[in-house]
């Protein structure tokens, strides 16, 4: 049995679905995370989606593809997408790609890096 290094928790807040990811996002975990989130999004089509990255302690460029892919999916069905409280590991990868120019980032828990 190979241990998983990530976890997904969903929370509803009004018309928003908060998707909280825990652990490590790499190519290995991104495949599973993507499939599970997309099943949820396509079944429920929430008007607002907040991807909470505050509990991410490792992220490489696979995380960029994961964020962009969910952003595109939500936008395609007419919803709104934002990243919530990216951890330092997530934030530096997003900054490297200039992602803040395309995707809304909301900060509620920590100072912006």
């Amino acid at each position: 049995m190979i241990k998983t290094n990530h976890q997904i928790v969903y929370e509803s807040a009004g018309d928003a679905l908060v998707i909280r990811l825990w652990g490590e996002i790499d190519h290995h975990s991104a495949v599973d995370v993507r499939t599970r989130i997309d099943d949820k999004l396509l079944a429920e089509r929430p008007h607002r989606v907040l991807l909470d990255l505050s509990a991410i302690d490792f992220m490489d460029s696979s995380g960029l593809g994961l964020i962009m892919g969910r952003f595109s999916l939500v936008r395609r069905y007419g919803g709104k997408f934002a990243v919530l409280d990216p951890s330092p590991a997530a934030s530096r990868m997003m900054s490297l790609a200039g992602m803040e120019r395309m995707i809304a980032i909301q900060y509620t828990k920590q100072e912006r890096n």
Binding site: E24, H27, V31, F58, D60, S61, S62, R92, A97
Partner: protein, 151 residues
Amino acid sequence: MTRSTVDFSARVENELDMTLPSLSVNEGMARAAVAAFCSQLNPTAVEIADLKCAVSEAVTNCIVHAYRDTVGDIRINVKLCEGRIVQVEIRDRGCGIDDVKKAREPLFTTDAAGERSGMGFTVMESFCDSVRVTSRIGRGTTVILTKRLHK
């Protein structure tokens, strides 16, 4: 053990060699092992995060591109050198890269459907002092990451 030469003149103080099959679960194993080995130099948390990201990108390239739907060996060699220099060599015997210059361009990817961002080499270059890539079609690719840790 015969120690391979380093691509610069610094003396090698310690060395780790490991070979892992190109299974995606080993991405985490590879970066954790490199980080653990480098910890004897007391790197900062940021330096460790940089090395982990760069190694993860290089190993992912072996799995996603070099071996694609097959499984082959990924050889990882870490050298801790005089002057707090870390050199990590990641080598595969996969398909090779047709145009290395193109592959290193930001956002270039041959696997957009797999949601690859095309940022792998950019991440390696951003988090290391140098990234050297040599590749031969049908023979494989070697990536050498070099990072000097703060004193």
